[in-house]
């Protein structure tokens, strides 16, 4: 890729925020001559998109798959995370011989616009002021994120993606791709998602945002300059959100009412129960790697998402006569994006005459199931992509 300007810099994992401007990833820079037109009416320029790639792009550039990440994910799909050192977040799905086989496909994953891992967002430096964007960053939408991704795909010289794949907010981006650029998406795999955010989900996001903003260390979003960070607020937001990613059955199976390192209650507000200790850990580890303002912006983008609203309220209009092959999956115990949401999308796709497969996977792992080793989900993802590959004339596993 000759025309990609790569910026590499040494990682300083102790300083969160370093990754925001100088990520441990390839970076596509878009100058003042290539502004990103945002839904709020602002032209954003310059801006940058940080991305990872795996595998090799074939000669006719027909084997590229874009992986879209969820709310708190990033571009580090299948490599150790530069800040936490943990394995890539979708290594169940992406890698040699996996459903997204890096030996056959060219996998691209970019940090979303508004993220904090190298794509321009509130944690990035605003070149006009030399200060961090903070709340001066314009409010963005899922279509804005996808528009930025499309500019990256243009930059990579790829006309049509073999597939766009994502779960949760990544699934929203996937569906937005098919609605906005139907001819550029040969197949789409959207998991545990919807074409619109429900009132309940907006409510949970509002809870999280209020927790962040209620933390005195948030300082109206200028915590970087004041040397603080709203650890507690963001931690509470993460704890609340994390409950919605699980299920009653999964929590019961993992923790029940078991005590944490003790046999009797302490008659205090310590984390007596294992489930409390687990949630506290989830909250505190999250704040180490995620920017609080970025969390506000990305949850807002999800809240605003409603594909039908952009098509006179008729979802089927968004997908009419698209040639993209769709596969949707939901999980029985997911109450954040329940099966009924996927089914509504399927009905709209059917009404539009679109080729769609839909499977509901039985699991007690809740919304998070798309990130976990759920064999039926992984098998179906693999079979769907394999059949699409054979139609596209790409190598298949031969299973």
């Amino acid at each position: 890729m000759v025309n990609i300007q790569s910026v590499k810099s040494p990682v300083r994992a102790d300083e969160r925020g370093q990754e925001a401007d100088h990520p441990t990833s390839q970076v596509a820079l878009f100058g003042a001559d290539q502004p990103l037109q945002l839904d709020c009416g602002i032209d954003l320029a310059p801006f940058q998109i940080a991305y990872q790639t795996y595998g090799t792009l074939n000669a006719d550039k027909s084997n590229a798959i874009l992986v879209c990440h969820a709310l708190t994910g990033d571009q580090h799909v299948a490599n150790p995370h530069p800040v936490t050192g943990k394995p890539g977040w979708w290594e169940t799905l992406v890698g040699p011989g996996k459903a997204l086989d890096t030996e056959r496909y060219f996998i691209i994953s970019s940090n979303v616009l508004g993220g904090c891992m190298g794509s321009t967002g509130p944690a990035s430096t605003n070149p006009a002021t030399g200060k961090l964007w903070g709340l001066d960053f314009p409010v963005i939408t899922i279509p804005d994120m996808v528009r930025a991704q499309a500019m990256l795909i243009d930059r990579l010289g790829i006309d049509q993606l073999f597939s766009v794949v994502g779960g949760s907010m990544g699934g929203m981006q996937t569906l937005q791709w098919t609605a906005a650029y139907p001819k550029r998406v040969f197949s789409a795999l959207a998991v545990a998602c919807s074409t619109r955010h429900s009132a309940q989900n907006i409510a949970f996001h509002e809870l999280g945002r209020q927790a962040v903003m209620a933390d005195p260390d948030w300082r109206g979003g200028r915590y970087f300059e004041e040397g603080t960070h709203p650890h507690r607020g963001l931690g509470v937001a993460r704890m609340a959100a994390h409950i919605t990613y699980l299920s009653d059955a999964a929590l019961h199976r993992k923790f029940g009412r078991r005590m944490q390192d003790r046999d009797l209650p302490t008659f205090s507000f310590d984390a007596d129960f294992q489930v409390e200790s687990y949630l506290r850990y989830q909250g505190s580890s999250f704040v180490e790697r995620f920017d609080a303002n970025s969390y506000l912006y990305l949850t807002r983008a999800m809240d605003y998402f409603d594909i039908a609203a952009d098509h006179n309220g008729v979802l089927a209009e968004a997908f009419r006569d698209t040639q993209t092959r769709f596969c949707l999956m939901s999980f029985t115990s997911d109450w954040l994006f329940p099966t009924s949401e996927s089914r509504a999308v399927v009905h709209a796709l059917n009404a539009g005459g679109v080729r769609v497969s839909f499977a509901e996977i039985e699991t007690d792992k809740g919304h998070d199931a798309f990130l976990l080793d759920v064999p039926e989900f992984l098998d179906i993802a693999s079979a769907f992509l394999d059949s699409a590959a054979s139609v596209r004339g790409l190598p298949t596993t031969g299973k």
């Binding site: 049509q160 001819k183 040969f186 040639q323 092959r325 596969c327 089914r343 399927v346 009905h347 059917n350 009404a351 005459g353 080729r355 769609v356 497969s357 839909f358 499977a359 509901e360 996977i361 039985e362 039926e376 098998d379 179906i380 079979a383 769907f384 394999d386 059949s387 699409a388 054979s390 139609v391 298949t396 031969g398 299973k399």
Partner: protein, 220 residues
């Protein structure tokens, strides 16, 4: 990409040597032109859809059981989980060239409404069902005095999903009632072989183990 590219037959899932297509599936597939857009309602494990796709037909499916759907999607077929009784309403008029209801009519709650929906969604419908007028059925009820069970319908009366059995004669009467035109009617014997074409209705109703009908909307 053109529409034609989308309906190319799948290369990988060529039938394994041991698999032989069912007689009624071959008969149904023979009624459909290459390039047609087809919805298979109650597509089970997707055997018929695979046969159709191998013949260059753009096949889609609905299946009630989660296991069936997941096996179909696992074969790369475009199948969604759904119920013939409640979900056909979500499909627009004239969405398909053919809508197939294979061995499923007797398991629906409202066969008449389902049949009307088939011919609303598709320009033609292909319906196959077990014939309760088959001589073995009659004999079991007449001589045995118990609800019939056959090789193809082995379930007992108390755990069968089949709640609306009919005979070929009954079905023909329903088609007349709701103004449906029968373009082709074929009865198959116990081994899935078609009975002779010029046989009278009473003969088909007695010796057909199942009926396969190609239907279209009658001119009003």
């Amino acid at each position: 990409m053109s529409a034609e590219q989308q309906i190319l037959p799948l290369v990988t899932p060529a039938p394994r040597g041991t698999e032989i297509y069912r007689g009624d599936h071959l008969l149904v597939a023979g009624m459909i032109e290459r390039g047609s857009k087809v919805l298979d309602v109650g597509c089970g494990d997707g055997d018929l859809l695979q046969l159709l796709e191998s013949r260059g037909i753009d096949g889609r499916g609905i299946e009630l059981s989660r296991e069936g759907v997941n096996r179909c999607v696992g074969k790369g077929l475009a199948v969604v989980q759904g119920d013939a009784d409640t979900d056909l309403i979500n499909y627009p008029n004239d969405a398909f060239d053919y809508v197939i209801l294979s061995q499923t009519l007797q398991a629906t709650r409202q066969p008449r409404v389902v049949l009307e929906n088939l011919l609303r969604i598709g320009r033609r419908a292909i319906v196959s069902f077990p014939n309760f007028g088959f001589w073995k059925m009659r004999l079991q009820l007449l001589v045995g005095g118990h609800m019939p069970r056959t090789e193809n319908l082995p379930a007992t009366w108390y755990d069968t999903p089949n709640i609306h059995f009919c005979t070929i004669k009954d079905f023909v009467q329903l088609c007349d009632e709701i103004n449906v035109k029968m373009e082709r009617a074929v009865a198959l014997d116990l081994y899935g072989r078609p009975l002779r074409l010029n046989a009278p209705w009473w003969f088909l109703n007695m010796f057909g183990e199942q009926g396969v009908f190609l239907l279209s909307r009658a001119a009003r």
